[in-house]
Symmetry: C2
Subunit: 129 residues, 2 copies
């Protein structure tokens, strides 16, 4: 248990019951991904210390790494001034992105449109076997 | 101009026309805030190199720092793998948070609930005069 469940009462979930959650590598500061949490996902994260999100596409809890093994151990859970966004400091096992990249934010806007600024470290078909 | 407008065509705005945008201090890695952008806000950010968001509470463009002077010069604009989240690397003038703190994420979840882990650097009444 990394935090008391009473924290949940302070969270301003949106009308859809979700809150945006940023995952950041705790020691390097790299922003890894942005995902969503409902109350159950945040409660599970606080209880287990492993990042659990809510998958909007699958409409169910998404225990990060459940199929890929690329889990996130949670070091700190922070809320912002309006309590309507979450920042998770995590220790990412392997890669955060389903494309096999460390971070999901690998597309940079420039004069010629979007450019890929990071290559996959793992082939996606090796992540999901 | 830091990026071509064609980038806008690649962005997956939500049904409300908005996309979540994370602002991160470019050199220290500190996550400063999470806000929202519509197409006009992102277009202006790409054109001017100064962060412009969409304020959901005021229902209008929010040129960061327009009343506080705490502007964000944009160093890089990145999209994630699904093109439905934005990461801005910025150089923050002063403080990002309306409470006078450097980062909005100053509430940390722990065994006793939420604890403040950062103090204001500026009094809010000095920010909005």
């Amino acid at each position: 248990m990394i935090a008391d469940r009473r924290v949940l009462d302070r969270v301003a979930f949106g009308p859809d019951g979700l809150i945006a959650a940023i995952a950041q590598q705790h020691d390097t500061g790299e922003v890894l991904m942005l995902a969503w949490m409902n109350a159950d996902a945040l409660a599970e994260t606080l209880a287990t210390g492993q990042a659990c999100y809510f998958s909007r596409s699958r409409n169910r809890l998404w225990r990060k790494g459940e199929s890929s093994g690329q889990t996130q151990r949670v070091v700190s859970v922070r809320l912002d001034c309006d309590q309507d966004a979450v920042l998770l400091l995590v220790d990412q096992t392997g890669v955060a992105c389903h494309t096999g990249r460390r971070s999901c934010f690998y597309l940079e806007a420039g004069p010629d449109g979007l450019a890929e600024i990071a290559a996959p470290l793992v082939a996606p078909d090796q992540l999901y076997r």
